[in-house]
Amino acid sequence: MTASTATAAGGYAFAYLDDQTKRMIRRAILKAIAIPGHQVPFAARDMPMPYGWGTGGIQVTAAILGPADVLKVIDQGADDTTNAVSIRKFFKTTANVAVTTRTTEATVIQTRHRIPETPLGPGQILVYQVPIPEPLRFLEPRETETRVMHALADYGLMHVKLYEDIATHGRIAKTYAYPVKVEGRYVMDPSPTPKFDNPKMHLSPALQLFGAGREKRIYALPPFTHVVSLDFEDHPFEPTRFDAPCALCGATGVYLDEVVTDDAGGRMFVCSDTDHCETRRAEGHHGTEWAGEATEATA
């Protein structure tokens, strides 16, 4: 290693961001917590990974992380996906914090597209990576107009979209990024989590923070916030259900990934939450495709 690379690796602040930037982000986070569901603009920085790959979540995590924290990073529910590995490595390098794949051990969990199956507890913080924070964006592309709509709680158009879904498809045809109303006031995008996870946001004892880097917005759900998925009285919100249990751990009532096993139509459904699945298998549960013979040692 040359002298200059040593400087490059060692020349960064704890968790990459400088203190000024962290203060700015923390102020935005505090404001977001004070007004649940409201999108607070913040001066997002260019990060050394591409926009759209979690730069918002990374900045939020960097701003709240302390040396004693234990970090878990998931993408699509899994700890071993490329984006999760990359981000976990980033914080291990720049903050030297303890990392884990166990939901119960983590103090901070950064996530893309899922909420862990294991219920979160008080003191835990869930950081969501958000691509498009504006739930009204696809109804009204102009920011100037959507800000006014939020300010005036002018949300009729959102229900028009849901009405159209039912008129066209017989049901609300939204499966992820399913809009919610927070504390009866702000309509919020839960990030592109499957609607399966929406009920987990409601009255969660954990603090939930949402960061959108490219769009420069932070929003939050303080612990025990009312989060209600939008619907109609006669077409109530229905979380996605799966017909079969996880093929590996036999879990039911969890979110499953479809795995293509061959090109002749073979499919297998397994837990999207890898920690949940591994924990269950370690406890002796098993599904149809896993007999439970060998457990790899999990360090």
Partner: protein, 261 residues
């Protein structure tokens, strides 16, 4: 209840709007009562569209004010309403029928969604009831209810105007503004639309302010008529009186050139 009959629904006082040195309209004053239909007639450039925008609170006056008696009975100056109150008024107690239906409708949303939007905006959350109300209103404006899921892009010009009217009336407004509602339509389509509007206005006891350059529209729909020229009201009175016995030379010219074959 004598109060609602004796207190105007809407009052314009010394109302005016200048655009720099150019006059939009000036010194307009009138009272409009519940169930009353007022036509504002004049040529293009006479200031009638500016006046309509002032009366509906979409344009701030440079002189005078517009007072409106809210549903709670309190009379308020439109200029003092917050943006939220103004929007609420627009989706509950008021309607606005545009000459160009594409401005008054959501062209990418089905007819049912167009009619249902106001209900949802004021908190209706029962799909079945919203749909029933939409079907009811499509029927009342003589649109085949089997076409409820079609978008207005599939509708003819006359149907679009009728859909616009249904979309406005679904929240039982007390006052509807109409800007050249028959403009651009074929004569036979115009006649059918006017007939429909006349029936609805009478049945529902609506107050209407209709802007038109077509004196036949004023004749058919309105109780009272105001004639505008160069931004000012030059003559007003009962419609029959203004059209049958015009006092101003300009009105006489208008009546003779347009109404007489």
């Amino acid at each position: 209840m004598t109060d609602t009959l004796s207190t105007p629904l809407l009052s314009a006082e010394n109302l005016g709007r200048d655009y720099g040195a150019r006059i939009g309209c000036r010194d307009v004053a009138f009272d409009l009562f519940e169930g009353e239909v007022l036509a504002i007639v004049g040529e293009s450039g006479s200031g009638k569209s500016t006046l309509l925008n002032l009366l509906s609170g979409q344009l701030a006056p440079t002189a005078g004010r517009v007072a409106y008696r809210m549903r709670d009975g309190a009379t308020r100056d439109l200029g003092s309403l917050s943006e939220a109150e103004r929007r609420f008024l627009f989706r509950t107690d008021w309607g606005f029928v545009h000459q160009d239906a594409t401005r008054g409708l959501r062209m990418g949303v089905s007819a049912g969604g167009n009619v249902g939007e106001r209900l949802m905006a004021v908190g209706e959350r029962h799909y079945g009831r919203i749909r029933a109300a939409a079907e009811d209103w499509l029927g009342r404006v003589e649109i085949d209810t089997t076409r409820i899921d079609e978008k207005p892009t599939a509708y003819s010009g006359g149907m679009r105007q009728r859909l616009q009217i249904a979309r406005n009336l679904v929240t039982a407004p007390r006052l509807v503004f109409m800007d050249e509602p028959t403009g651009g339509l074929d004569v036979s389509v115009q006649a059918r639309l006017l007939d429909l509007v006349r029936g609805l206005v009478a049945d529902l006891g609506l107050a209407v302010i209709v802007v038109t350059h077509d004196l036949a529209v004023a004749r058919l729909l309105s109780h009272r008529t105001m004639v505008m020229k160069d931004g000012r009201v030059i003559e007003q009175g009962l419609t029959d009186r203004v059209l049958d016995d015009p006092r101003e030379a300009y009105t006489q010219l208008l009546v003779s050139s347009i109404l007489q074959p």
